[in-house]
Symmetry: D2
Subunit: 342 residues, 4 copies
Amino acid sequence: MKAVRLHGYGQRPVVEEVSEPQLTGPLDVIVRIGGAGLCRTDLHIIEGQWREKSNVELPYTLGHENAGWVQEVGGAVTNVEPGDAVIVHPLVTCGLCRACRAGDDMHCENSLFPGISTDGGFAELLKTNARAVVRLPDGVEPKDIAAHADAGLTAYHAVKKAARILYPGTTAVVIGAGGLGHIGIQSLKVLSAARVIVLDRSEGSLELARECGADETILVDGSEIEAVRERTGGRGAEVVLDFVGEGGALGDSIAMLREAGTHYVIGYGGVLSVPAIDIISSEINVVGNLVGTYNDLAELMTLAAEGRVTLHTSTYPLDAVNEAMDDLEAGRLHGRGILIPA
Amino acid sequence: MKAVRLHGYGQRPVVEEVSEPQLTGPLDVIVRIGGAGLCRTDLHIIEGQWREKSNVELPYTLGHENAGWVQEVGGAVTNVEPGDAVIVHPLVTCGLCRACRAGDDMHCENSLFPGISTDGGFAELLKTNARAVVRLPDGVEPKDIAAHADAGLTAYHAVKKAARILYPGTTAVVIGAGGLGHIGIQSLKVLSAARVIVLDRSEGSLELARECGADETILVDGSEIEAVRERTGGRGAEVVLDFVGEGGALGDSIAMLREAGTHYVIGYGGVLSVPAIDIISSEINVVGNLVGTYNDLAELMTLAAEGRVTLHTSTYPLDAVNEAMDDLEAGRLHGRGILIPA
Amino acid sequence: MKAVRLHGYGQRPVVEEVSEPQLTGPLDVIVRIGGAGLCRTDLHIIEGQWREKSNVELPYTLGHENAGWVQEVGGAVTNVEPGDAVIVHPLVTCGLCRACRAGDDMHCENSLFPGISTDGGFAELLKTNARAVVRLPDGVEPKDIAAHADAGLTAYHAVKKAARILYPGTTAVVIGAGGLGHIGIQSLKVLSAARVIVLDRSEGSLELARECGADETILVDGSEIEAVRERTGGRGAEVVLDFVGEGGALGDSIAMLREAGTHYVIGYGGVLSVPAIDIISSEINVVGNLVGTYNDLAELMTLAAEGRVTLHTSTYPLDAVNEAMDDLEAGRLHGRGILIPA
Amino acid sequence: MKAVRLHGYGQRPVVEEVSEPQLTGPLDVIVRIGGAGLCRTDLHIIEGQWREKSNVELPYTLGHENAGWVQEVGGAVTNVEPGDAVIVHPLVTCGLCRACRAGDDMHCENSLFPGISTDGGFAELLKTNARAVVRLPDGVEPKDIAAHADAGLTAYHAVKKAARILYPGTTAVVIGAGGLGHIGIQSLKVLSAARVIVLDRSEGSLELARECGADETILVDGSEIEAVRERTGGRGAEVVLDFVGEGGALGDSIAMLREAGTHYVIGYGGVLSVPAIDIISSEINVVGNLVGTYNDLAELMTLAAEGRVTLHTSTYPLDAVNEAMDDLEAGRLHGRGILIPA
């Protein structure tokens, strides 16, 4: 089958023929890919940012945001059968460790992360397991919701944490209305009654933010901290969801927090740097976010089927992966890029 | 009356005569000081670290950790009467803002912080209000528990947050077994069933930690991160309570966390600096801590009266404030220093 | 001034002249009533259901759902001033007990409940205190939102608890789309992403329910338990909000619960009777609800000002109180009845 | 192999030869029983109380509280191997439904309950699965901790819920210091800092309660409600853990609650009957409890290995099951009865 393989850090992946994945365990599931989302993390992987964390052996197949149809299942699989349309949770988990048993799939002690630490879904077929596949509601097409497998899930997971401390009258600031942010905004409007203020460097993204339900938008131009303070009676926001995590976003986030407020770090690339006296004198919190749980993904599919969270995507054939990457790097890719095997 | 007043940053306070505080509002309470704790924050104030945050006008009276007996009350005070032994919550709060109404006294929108932003308790009399005074159980002496008003409260408040995510089989690391840490260790043993590992640079402090109930102790000598990883199956600790917040403590704390673990910042002085990729790839949290609520203080008084949390203190006459500060700076002060007006 | 006074249980109240309330404490606030809601509880009081619980001395003035304008304030009141439009939290609380300090105004150890245990708001003036008054946003008229002071607050408070366990894909059943229920439905749609199924004996109420956002409605005709089970895959609902609490509603509620589901009791009049084996074998919960907190009321005012929760009311002059009661008893009163002093 | 089989409701089970269980699925685990606890539920099963709920076909093997050594494992089992000493979680769960994925093993949509709905552990061998077995720490003998599989787990699970609302200064009342209650008391002392008051009809049980750490004990003699009210300043207890659930215990529990208090139903047999006005006017809660999660059981094993929760047991050979049942019915069985295959 065809697959997009990374042969060396610092160089673009190549599309080549590889052998098809095989069932080896009773809970294995092989999925025929209907669509696979392209993520800024794919660029970060190529740059080598994940080299030591993933420890993956090159070459391998990229693609950690996948949906399609069940092709084949192991002997003990009871929750899906061949032909079922599914979205694929990014982690292959064991189901037996404490984290799995507590629902924290992300922290499974025996997990694989296809597309990060083993072969992923920029290919015709993907091997995952029964614990990772969420059956799609009738009428939902894999390629249309593939981007929820990582972008949507990560945004929803962070928003779900934030929603616990939001109530009518509070303010949630969203930094970055891109691939993740535009889902985060919709999720905020569905899960909370807070006012949502969205910040971005691009007027186009702010326009998208407003379509997604943002109550207010602010162009990032150096005066954004002051702008947020002004709109919050000088006090700052209870919640800042930082979908950027580099440039000035991390510092801005801390500076925009109200006393006892919480900064949700979702984007990455930069370094968070805060004097401890500022952390304690305002009693603020910083919360990391890593994809989300299987149950989060199932909830998000409910919202997608209800039409309450929708995706903005552009599709490319699998062969055009490098063109898609060019567009992503150049800021020409509107919405999430989805690779589709022929 | 006699009071310890700061006349200029960078110079030691002086003991001098000032006029006595007067009742001005119906909820005011004047307390005759029985004991006032000396805190590293007093040194930080003198250094000027709080200059901009407190915005206090010099000269003023230091002392934010106070206990004594009610001397006089305003016309609307119903919860205490003259003669009652009380510990004084560090903040004078309004009781009418959202934070007060939610129990978050620390974030009152109209608060005063005696000893930080207005005259404090290094004096014969202190002016506070009805919302700040906790009546002491019979047989509890103000000078014996004064250090709970800030040191104890802050440690207890942070431990109470941490206890929510601790369960049998988890590990809580305590960095620093000093004035706050030794109360933190005792609180952890009372409020949780976790294993408590204590780190300190001093063998004497580790000895105190063991008396306070630490399950294990580790001398901080550069190999402490590895030592914690070894004792946690290579995974790190679910909770790190950082009572130091400077030197290597902040970095050590992050490095000792397990996936999804939480770093409670209590001590301060240093700068927390973490790449965002480390925050998200491990989904860790950083939680600031600022004193605690009135209800926290009342709970701590229950534990003190039951003998489940005890204090290590050294007493000094109020006149000897600078000798006490010398001892604190030089590391000669064992336990918390308590100033007692003649 | 004119007031509606109850002189004996089992007999209708009379409108008569009484002396005006006077400020006695520094936190007292006197409110000129703009509108006071009539509640089924007023009928229950007359029937004597609250006789022992309230222990109030007759005659006294009814009316526990009040809004108006501040007339006069005590010397220590800082949060409102004469002329401010306010809604009045139903309890006069002390602000000093553990419950007040934790935000649980309903459980204040030193509270008064005007209209239940002391003189209420079916009058020209009402005496309450600074802790009870919520300033209204500009443009909000007291008579239009008075019903939120009890009906709205109680519904919102219960929904807020329920929202914590609801997520996309879950079902909340609302029993009773009347004075409280129609606010509960709107609050559910704002605070949660759950499917809302509303049950009522009246087609008219179900019509109102649909206007308020109900996803599905079921006429209560004896087959309602089966109908809910059918629409939940045979499993029952995660949440049942019982705004009726008499007739068959209590039994229906338990029978409609999913395993681990929760029954929120809001209406009353009947007796809940469940074999313990049914409680444990399904691990279900029953949660009582009593008005709500001051902060709940402030949040609800935000939603009211945003137009996200609206009230259906009918107004009567204060003199027509008994006509309003007749209409309520006869089921002729559409929406909440609001009494307005001339 | 030998097994204790129920052939008809209302008649005692018989010990007879049956064929050994066989592996059929890749996650199956067969356990050689080291000890199986006898529970009041076994008597309730014989009486027919569970007939409709379990829908089990007779004859079948009783025994839902099991520990032993792994005998044989299916091909996909990775967490245990033959020879491992294990305690067996009472439910065989699927790991794939929402409840399993959220850690709520008790509410698995595809579960079996050996000893209730299929063959249990009053036998030489028990068939369960990989998701049910908890490896025992070194030096822990299956027969010594078997009673934790149900009695211990259920008590611990309920206490863990209660501990979330207990803090220093609160009161937890325990009704019934028997097989479950004596573990509940120890768990309360480990997980919370509340005062624990224990009620029982037997002085012997109260003696055991004090050994387990009860702070106060009260003999149930008709004045127990008043006694609890007296010891709680007339207000009642924040928490009542009802390990009896019949006789007067259910009514007593409600009557002993403080405003906003919670009644945890654990024992069963009786009917809970409460006027709705009492539920809402005090805003009380009733919480059902059904065994506990796998993670709960693992935590309890940690406490058992640390010696912080210990069991009082009496052992019987498997053949003497009816003698043990006689002793249990007659109140002669001290601690939990454990059946041991020859």
